[in-house]
């Protein structure tokens, strides 16, 4: 024991030294690029430098840690110290959605967006209390491994494999999409090429060294992404609050923001713009009510205007404008309907800004209570989903001991917390900056960043002078959520190097999550399906080789699905959490805390939880109901994303009932439960660690 204790602490010290050097090197790299920018390095080249330097670095770590050993490949040799496993879990956990989307969601929806912040952090309490230490003691390779050993038989393992692949695959598609988007934005390469370049980085890393390579790459990626996220916020914080830790002081900025919001609500020019929107929405609605007549009337009107302009010898530019109006008139009633529907949508822009801190807005008590229920639904599903996603739970197999697994959850949440408690602060600072500097400025002299982004992508920022007064009103601005993180460096007036750094951080977040997910999918197929269910006599060399081949296949399939650009990616990510919470959480936790739970309870419980979850989504989510699935009303007004709120309790309940109705599990299984409950049991006959 003493030699192993020595080697563990020596290993840990050595790692700290390596990563300290690495962080210093990365900062030097940033400074060098900053100097190069001053000397005239072009923006495109800064983008290329970031892209190839970081991906090259990740691939390099992958190459150095390549392995063909089973324990190294699946669980990084079970010697990752708690601190570093925490960092790796942080990168594994924080996806492109957390890095780029979160602050934007908070910017747009204020308090209600905090459901994601709470949901994606609080879930780690459940991981710590109910799962991580016990799974570490169990000490196998995958999550279906535990289900199969605990409940016995290939049916449970099969359901586990299918569920693990379903939720991971849905999630990995969203990540690869993010990779393509960031790379194309960073360098101007095409979306498809961006996906390919990112994928190459993932593959070199994950394929050569499995969990071992992914772990050490994720640590490196965490360092890049946290530096990238904090740098612009600290800068913006100094500008608005005067201290470099704006997370503490932005409460006072919120008060100032509330005053600005009130001023904007009362401003007559703002009201004028909102009135224009509500009039246009009302006109669109009226036209939709009687489409044929409205179409004919509208057509006559523009034609008459043209005729009268010509007959009255109006100036040439007026005639030209009238001709343009006739030419632009929709060619058919259906085309006009599309246009009117778009106009009715403007009603959303006709309201005053919603106070940022206001919780659960709604027109009456009932609507407010539904908003509250949906907030809680999202928090619930994200938390229990966190505690059930296999790519996260798998990380706790890699620590040297049970106690290290417990400590490691602590470090995981510390590292995740750093980003998640910054996101709401960033949203408030960016909002305040925009409401005070952009709103009220003149169209002739927009801030440089606003002009630039409106030009780059109108989906991210669109400013139109609706009431033609030459001044920007808040109601005239349309913002895409992703703008907030991407444009913060420019809003804060930082050099372009920081914009490149932010893009590199987003890329690190997307790549690290994709790494972990692809590994989960490949391991479920290679270890659980091939080795445990088809060929239990396969040599270790063969098992690892098959894992590697499957990883490449999974990655290519995921890239192919991504290239089809499937619908609503945020919904898919939410759905993955609901599915995970329904399928995995009940059998895992009950299996540890209740010896009496048995095979049939698990089979029926997992199927019931998963079944109700899928049923509710299919019957209520527009994507499915538009494809012909009969639509039904929401239960309690709960949105489809929160289907896990039905799936999880039902799964728990059925496991209890069915287990009690059938025979108790064998003595061997009960001993396994005792085995996982004690970090070290003297006289224990069960073998602790799989090879």
């Amino acid at each position: 024991m003493s030699t192993s204790a020595f080697s563990h602490s020596a290993f840990s010290r050595q790692l700290k030294k390596y990563y300290l050097f690495y962080t210093g090197g990365f900062i030097l790299f940033l400074l060098a690029l900053a100097v190069a920018e001053q000397l005239g390095l072009s923006r495109a080249w800064i983008g290329y430098w970031f892209l190839f330097a970081t991906i090259g670095l990740y691939a390099g770590i992958g190459w150095m840690t390549r392995t063909q050993d089973v324990a190294e490949y699946y669980v990084a040799g079970r010697k990752v110290p708690a601190f570093f496993n925490g960092m790796a879990t942080g990168a594994d956990w924080m996806s492109a959605a957390s890095f780029i989307g979160m602050a934007g969601t908070l910017f747009l929806s204020g308090y209600d967006g905090l459901a994601w912040v709470m949901g994606w952090t609080g879930g780690f309490c459940l991981v710590a209390l109910f799962l991580a230490p016990y799974l570490r003691k169990f000490g196998q390779f995958t999550i279906p491994d535990f289900l199969a050993e605990r409940y016995g038989g290939n049916i449970v393992r099969g359901i586990g494999v299918v569920s693990a692949i379903c939720c991971s695959f849905v999630y990995v598609v969203a990540q690869i999409y993010g990779v393509g988007l960031i790379v194309s934005r960073m360098t101007g390469l095409e979306f498809g090429v961006g996906v390919f370049v990112g994928l190459a980085g993932i593959l070199v890393c994950a394929m050569l060294g499995g969990m071992r390579a992914v772990t050490w790459t994720q640590v490196a990626q965490y360092i890049v992404l946290i530096i990238a996220y904090l740098t612009p916020v600290v800068w913006l914080g100094v500008k608005h609050t005067g201290i470099p830790v704006p997370q503490i002081a932005y409460g006072y900025t919120m008060q100032k923001l509330a005053d600005v919001e009130k001023k904007i609500t009362a401003d007559p020019k703002e009201q004028e713009v909102r009135k224009i929107f509500s009039d246009r929405a009302a006109a669109g609605k009226a036209a939709l009510a009687a489409p044929d007549k409205s179409y004919a009337d509208g057509k006559t009107k523009v034609e008459q205007a043209l005729a009268s302009a010509k007959s009255s010898n109006a100036p040439a530019d007026q005639v030209a404008a009238a001709e343009k109006a006739v030419a632009a008139y929709p060619a058919s009633v259906n085309a006009a309907k599309v246009q009117w529907t778009r106009e009715t949508g403007l009603a959303a822009r006709a309201g005053p800004p919603r106070p940022h801190a206001q919780a659960f807005p709604g027109k009456d008590e009932a609507a407010q209570n539904t908003a509250r229920l949906n907030f809680i639904g999202i928090v619930f599903c994200m938390m229990f989903g966190t505690a059930a996603l296999p790519h996260i739970l798998m990380r706790y197999y890699t620590t040297p001991s049970v106690q290290q697994a417990r400590v490691s959850v602590f470090w995981s949440l510390v590292f995740i917390f750093l980003l998640y408690f910054t996101a709401p602060c960033l949203a408030v600072l960016a909002k305040y900056d925009m409401y005070t500097n952009l709103v009220g400025s003149s169209f002739a002299s927009l801030p440089a960043w606003a002009a630039a982004w409106a030009l780059v992508d109108p989906g991210l920022l669109n400013i139109t002078d609706i009431n033609k007064d030459g001044i920007v009103q808040l109601a005239e601005i349309v913002i895409g959520g992703d703008l907030i993180v991407l444009a913060t460096p420019e809003i804060a007036g930082l050099p372009y190097v920081v914009s490149g750094l932010v893009a590199a951080g987003g890329l690190a977040a997307a790549l690290s999550t994709a790494d972990g997910l692809l590994l989960t999918i490949a391991n479920a197929l290679a270890h659980d399906f091939y080795y445990k269910m088809i060929d239990p006599h396969a040599s270790t060399y063969k098992r690892v080789t098959i894992s590697k081949i499957l990883l490449v296949m999974a990655a290519i399939t995921a890239a192919y699905v991504t290239s089809l650009k499937p619908g609503d990616i945020l919904f898919l990510v939410g759905a993955a959490f609901s599915l995970g919470a329904s399928a995995f959480f009940p059998p895992l936790v009950i299996g540890i805390f209740w010896k009496r739970a048995n095979k049939w309870g698990a089979i029926v419980g997992m199927s019931a939880g998963l079944g109700i979850c899928i049923y509710y989504m299919m019957r209520t989510y527009p994507f499915f109901t538009n494809m012909g699935v009969p639509k039904m009303d929401l239960w309690f007004g709960l949105s489809p994303v929160s289907a896990g709120m039905f799936g999880l309790p039902l799964g728990m309940l059925t496991i209890f009932i069915v287990s009690l109705l059938t025979a108790p599990p064998s003595k061997q299984v009960q001993e396994l439960v005792e085995h996982v409950r004690y970090p070290n049991l003297v006289g224990d006959t069960l073998v602790s660690e799989a090879r």
Partner: protein, 88 residues
């Protein structure tokens, strides 16, 4: 193998620690969110309290809770002799 009386006691204490921390988690999450509108009428460090808790306060409680759990369990392991030795 047969578990001794001490083993059962260890597990019971583990359950008590788990239950208490779980209750704290529940209050910091769902009770807090349920009453967010009411909490928002109070101001804390310039923040409306409901907003502060969801954006920062509850998160700090989560981090502390996991840290406390790891410390308490380490102590319990040592006390009941089920620890894994000095595996730093």
């Amino acid at each position: 193998m047969e578990l001794t009386q001490k083993h059962h006691e260890y597990w019971r204490k583990n359950l008590v620690i788990t239950a208490i921390l779980f209750a704290v988690w529940f209050v910091a999450t769902f009770v807090e969110a349920w009453f967010a509108r009411e909490l928002n009428t109070i101001t804390f460090l310039g923040f409306p309290l409901g907003f502060y808790m969801s954006a920062q306060g509850s998160l700090i409680i989560y981090v502390a809770l996991i840290g406390i759990y790891a410390l308490l369990m380490r102590k319990l392991d040592l006390e009941y002799n089920v620890d894994e030795g000095d595996l730093e």
